[in-house]
Assembly symmetry: C2
Homo-oligomer: 370 residues x 2
C-alpha cells in the first residue's frame, strides 16, 4: 500500500476488524483493550504504514517523565547503592505506567549542574524526578528555577520552595537510639562521615536531636568520622583502632556500607560483634542480610518514595493553577539481625543471655510488624 494513498483511522479499523474508536484508544493507550485486539490494531498500523492526521507532539502515545540520576562526586551515588536506584525506579515505573506516563532515565556523573539543566529545558518531557542525594541547596534551586514540573528525592530541605520525597531520618534514628536505650547500653557511639550529602547531615542532626529527646548522654569521643566507602571506612577505623580508640558498647553507623567496613576492622582487631560491640546500620542493602554477622539496620521503602514522587509530580503537571510545594517524609523500619544483641554494658550470665535471645526473637517479630 503506497504512502501517498491517504489512509485514515477507518482504513486501519477495517483492516483490524474493529471500530475507529478502538483504534484511537489503542494508539492513545486509553480505555480497556485486550492485548489480542491491541496487537491486531498495531499490526494493521504497521503493515499499512498509517500516519495519523493529527501530528503528535512527541509522537509517543504517553507523556514522558524523566528520572535524573545525578552523581556529582559519587561518594554515595555509586555501584554500592545501585540497588536503591533500582528500587526507586521500580516504584516510579509502576506508578508512572499506572498513570500512563513513560519513564525515561538519564544519568550524569561528575558533570556540572548547568549541564544537567541544559538537557531539561525545552526537552519533550512532562516533568522530572531528580535524585538529589549529592545535590546542594543551590543545585536544587537552579533546577527548580527551570520551571519544569520537578520532584526531588533522597534529599530534603524544609524551606526551599520545591517538592521533596525523602526518608524520615528523624524517625529512623529515633528507632535506633530507642532500641539501644531499651537494651540498657550506656555507652552509645555514632559512626558518621564528613561527606557532604543532605541525608548524612540530616542523619547527624537526627542523632543529636534524638539523643536530647531520649535523654541520652554521649561522650564526644564516641562520635567517629570515617570515609563513606567500604574501603575508606575500613581503613579509617583501623587507623582509629591503632591510635588506641576506646570502643563504646554499641554504634549506629550512618549507612550500611560504612557499617561493613567498620565491622571488618573491629573483627580484625579481635572485637566480637555483637558480643563486645553492637552495630546498627542504615539502608538494608541486600548484603546486610547475608553477611556474617548479619547486620541489624534501618529499612526505608525506596519503592514507596519512587511511587509518591510520581504521584506528586502528576499532580503538579495536571494542576490547573500553581500548587504549594509539598514535602513528604516516608517512615522507616528497624530490621533486627545478628550484629546487634540485647546484651547490656556489663557482662551477662548465660541464662540472661538466653532470655535475651528469646526477647530478641519477640522484638524482631514486633519490629517487623510496626
Amino acid at each position: 500500500m503506497r504512502h501517498d494513498k491517504k489512509l485514515t483511522i477507518k482504513d486501519i479499523a477495517a483492516a483490524a476488524g474493529v471500530s475507529a474508536a478502538t483504534v484511537s484508544l489503542v494508539l492513545n493507550g486509553k480505555g480497556e483493550i485486550s492485548s489480542v485486539t491491541r496487537a491486531r490494531v498495531l499490526e494493521a498500523v504497521a503493515s499499512l504504514n498509517y500516519v495519523p492526521r493529527v501530528a503528535k507532539s512527541g509522537s509517543a502515545a504517553a507523556a514522558t517523565l524523566r528520572f535524573l540520576k545525578i552523581a556529582k562526586h559519587g561518594h554515595t551515588v555509586n555501584r554500592d547503592h545501585s540497588v536503591f536506584i533500582s528500587d526507586y525506579i521500580d516504584g516510579m515505573s509502576s506508578e508512572a505506567s499506572r498513570r500512563s506516563y513513560k519513564l525515561e532515565i538519564a544519568s550524569f556523573e561528575g558533570q556540572p549542574i548547568s549541564a544537567v539543566a541544559e538537557t531539561i529545558a525545552g526537552a519533550p518531557i512532562s516533568g522530572v524526578i531528580v535524585l538529589g542525594t549529592e545535590l546542594t541547596e543551590e543545585d536544587i534551586v537552579l533546577i527548580q528555577g527551570l520551571g519544569v514540573p520537578t520532584v526531588f528525592i533522597d534529599t530534603f530541605h524544609p524551606i526551599v520552595d520545591a517538592n521533596f520525597v525523602d526518608m524520615n531520618n528523624e524517625d529512623a534514628v529515633h528507632k535506633v537510639l530507642a532500641r539501644f536505650q531499651e537494651q540498657g547500653f550506656e555507652r552509645i557511639g555514632f559512626v558518621t562521615s564528613h561527606v557532604d550529602t543532605t541525608n548524612f547531615r540530616l542523619r547527624r542532626e537526627a542523632f543529636f536531636s534524638n539523643v536530647d529527646r531520649l535523654g541520652i548522654t554521649i561522650d564526644p569521643a564516641d562520635i567517629l568520622s570515617v570515609e563513606s566507602t567500604y574501603e575508606g571506612s575500613y581503613l579509617d577505623t583501623r587507623r582509629l583502632l591503632s591510635d588506641g580508640l576506646k570502643l563504646a558498647r554499641c554504634y549506629f553507623c550512618t549507612n550500611d556500607i560504612i557499617a561493613y567496613g567498620f565491622i571488618r576492622a573491629l573483627r580484625e582487631h579481635g572485637v566480637s560483634i555483637p558480643g563486645d560491640v553492637s552495630i546498627i546500620g542504615f539502608d538494608n542493602l541486600p548484603q546486610s542480610a547475608t553477611m556474617n554477622p548479619s547486620l541489624t539496620t534501618i529499612e526505608v521503602s525506596k519503592r514507596k518514595i519512587g511511587y509518591l514522587a510520581v504521584a506528586i509530580l502528576d499532580e503538579i503537571i495536571n494542576a490547573g493553577e500553581p500548587q504549594p510545594p509539598v514535602k513528604i517524609l516516608v517512615g522507616a523500619e528497624l530490621v533486627l539481625r545478628d550484629s546487634h544483641d540485647a546484651g547490656n554494658s556489663n557482662g551477662t550470665a548465660t541464662l540472661l543471655r538466653s532470655g535475651s535471645v528469646a526477647d530478641q526473637l519477640i522484638s524482631s517479630s514486633s519490629a517487623r510488624k510496626a
Copy 2:
C-alpha cells in the same frame, strides 16, 4: 409493588430503560455513567424497593471516611477558625467523592480521647481523618493504636508511627523572617502563646531555628506571650504596654487571631501600624484582608491538606500490605498587605518612603507569584 415480589436487577434495568450491567455499575459506583442515567436507575431502585440479592456489608454503595473534628480545649479549634475546618472539608470532600468515598463528619468538644476512640472501633467506616490540632502525642498514639486506617491533619510528630499531613511551619516562618530581614528591620519581635498545640510549638521552634539560620539577633524582651483568643491577646498586650513594654520594630504573630488583638491594643496605645510597628500574622483568615490595616500574613492551602489526607488514607485502605508511615508538609505563601511595610528602623524621608511603596507593590506581585 410488594416487597415479597422477588425483584431482580433485570426489573430495575427494565424500569430505568438500561441494561442490567448499567444498574450494577450504578449501584457499585463503578464505570462511566452519566448523572442523568444514574438518577434514573436510583429512582427505579427506590420506587420499586429493590433489595439486591447479594448482601452488602455496609449497605452503602460507597465506602465511608470519617472526619473527626476534635476540640479538646477549644483554644484554637473554635468558631474563630471555622473557615479552616471548612477548607479542610472542601479538600477532603472533593477528593473523597473522586475516589468514591462518602465523607462523614463527627465533632467532639471537651470529651476525653477515650470517648472519641469508642466511636471509631467497630464503626462501619473504611478510615478516619483526625483533626489533630489540640491533640497530644499520647492522644495520637491511642487513636493510631485502634488499627483503623488513620491520617492526622493540622499536627505533626516526626517520630510517631502515624500518618500526618500538616503545614510546613519551618518554611512559613522562614518566609516571614526573611521578609523582615530583607526590609532591614533590626529589631524583630515574636508574639507567641502559651497554649499547648503542636503547631504553636512547631511555629515557636521554627522561629528560633530560622533566627539561627538567618543570623538574626533577638532580644528576649521582644518575645511576647499572650492568650490565644482575640480578647485575651488584646488584654494581655494592653497589660504589657501599660507595664512599659518597649516595642520592637516588627512582630511576627503566631496566628491571625493573636495579631488582631495585638494590633488593636497597639493602635489604642497610639502606635501606628505599619509606620511604627510592622505586623505579620499566620493563617490568612478572611478578616485579614478586610480589616484596617489589612494584615500581611501566611497563607497555607488547607484544601490541599484535606486533599492529600484523603489520597494517603485511600492508599492505606487499599494497600495489600502494611505501608510505612508517611508525613507530608504542605508549603506556605506570604501574602503582603498593609500591616507590614518596607520601612526601616530609622525614620525615612518621604521620597524614600514613596519608593518603598513602589517596592512593596512589586514585592507583593512577586510574593503572590511564588
